[in-house]
Amino acid sequence: MSFLRVENLTHIYNQKTTYSRDAVSNVSFTAEKGEIIGVIGHTGSGKSTLIQHLNGLLKPDEGHIYIDGTDIWADPKKIKNFRFKVGLVFQYPEYQLFDETVYDDIAFGPKNMGMSSEEIEKTVNEIILEVGLSKDYLEKSPFDLSGGEKRRVAIAGVLAMKPEIIAFDEPTAGLDPSGRQMVTDIIRNYRDKYNATVIIVSHSMEDIAALADKILVMNKGKLQMYGTPKEVFSKGLELKEIDLSVPQVTTVFDILRKKGFNLPDNVITVDEAVKLLVNLKQEGCTND
């Protein structure tokens, strides 16, 4: 049995009014512990709506979400427990910072969980390092930090609850390349350390290709594809039809293949590409 199971999930905003629209319709998928699922889709395809169901912020109009075999809405009074089991990092999470010090802000979630103050202290000290900041930051005001640092503090605020499932809504949006790298490293490390299920919504095919074990493609509220990155990105034409693209290296390799080079069609990361090109070059040299 899968750890996370979403069944026939449907969500309609503003039901019964003239503005009603299906944001998510009949989506089903499963995910295991330790898996990173990338969610891609054109703007308005229902990605954010989908992930807000996982911790019960939104209630499905139809369908069910099972975590570890339990329907999260089986007892609506206990929905709060799932807020701690499933972490949710919103888009631009730095706008949720509010406390006087970084320490207090990170401690907000654990406090709400009812952790003891020793536990909280231990967790906060551990998490701040995991997001790549030193302990000196704990005493600072979150409002004095740079954008990238704020983002990492905000992510730490959710990681501190040690959720077994964690969903990120466009975690790298608005960051520079090194900031993006930092955030993707944080996500990967968290998965490795806690064997958590991670769900990442992103518009960056590069980030998704580098991180995800599986990719979920949303189109107009429906699930269009669900498979490994290589499977999904080898269907470039189908993706193009729903206004999505493939990673840039994949496009470059497509062009090279058309020019007659003997290269595979499932290259999605730069690392892979470099290896293949180096091989190609060496072969070329030996042939000469």
């Binding site: 912020l57 807020r83 919103f90 509010f98 959710v158 609850m161």
Partner: protein, 269 residues
């Protein structure tokens, strides 16, 4: 949801009332409001009710929308009714108990007053349902423009600019508040249970981010306006010119006839 609380409650349909010049609409509706007070017997008020019902139908805004407005003022309505019911002692006594005395005069007075309150609400709602906030502020600015002859021209412009900006940002702020509430809920914040003090404290994690982002937005907007050389209303023309159409003149005539009828009814009954 918080979204139900929005103030700009424009209802987008095409109707005769929607298409009126907002300046006329404001003036005519204010006249109607005044005449709700001038009508001082049931005949006059009855005509008023009939007229407002016709306006409601023409506006194509569903009655349920108007009812939603009335629901909000229900406590005030009930209070007005009870106050008049108990305090007006006039005519045949129907029921008497201790200090409470219910009379025919009291009942008719309380019905009369609540009808008045309902009319007031519906008339003002008609304005907001059928006029976009932008049109409203433009119209107010235009209506106040004679103030420039006494040197208040820039004040009028500033006020209307402030109103436009405030109205523009209400939905943004509502959306932002919802986002922040969700983000804090995702960290286990609880706004629904606990004692009063705890609940007040629970608002801090929403209020502070909201304040900060509002200030940030204000700076951004100011900068954006300055970099487009915004310098107040001096010698500025409007992008959206208001034009008087036949419908405006006809509705003005209708309202004038209506007002005369109210005065006549007042005099004869």
């Amino acid at each position: 949801m918080i979204k139900d609380l929005t103030i700009g409650q424009y209802y987008p349909v095409n109707s005769l009332i929607h298409s009126l010049d907002p300046r006329f609409k404001i003036v005519l509706l204010v006249v109607l409001l005044v005449f709700t007070f001038i009508a001082d017997n049931f005949f006059a008020l009855g005509l008023m009710v009939a007229f407002v019902l016709v306006v409601m139908v023409i506006s194509k805004v569903p009655f349920s929308m108007y009812l939603k407005n009335l629901k909000i003022i229900l406590p005030i309505l009930i209070f007005t009714m009870l106050l008049n019911l108990f305090y007006v002692a006039d005519g045949v006594v129907l029921y008497e108990f201790w200090v409470i005395k219910i009379t025919v005069g009291g009942i008719s007075r309380s019905v009369f007053m609540s009808l008045r309150v309902i009319l007031l609400i519906i008339i003002s709602a008609t304005l907001t349902y059928t006029t976009t906030p932008n049109d409203l502020t433009t119209a107010i600015e235009r209506l106040c423009s004679p103030l420039r002859f006494i040197g208040l021209g820039s004040a009028v412009h500033t006020m209307s600019m402030m109103m436009t900006i405030a109205l523009r940002f209400i939905p943004t702020l509502v959306e932002e508040t919802e986002k922040i509430i969700n983000a804090q809920k995702a960290r286990g914040a609880d706004f629904e249970s606990g004692k009063l003090m705890q609940r007040v404290k629970a608002i801090i994690p929403i209020l502070i981010p909201l304040l900060i982002s509002s200030v940030r937005r204000a700076y951004d907007l100011a900068e954006a306006m300055e970099s487009r050389c915004y310098n107040g209303g001096k010698n500025k023309t409007m992008m959206k010119q208001l034009k008087i159409k036949n419908g405006d003149i006809i509705s003005t005539i209708v309202v004038i006839i209506f007002c005369c009828s109210i005065i006549t009814l007042n005099i004869f009954f």
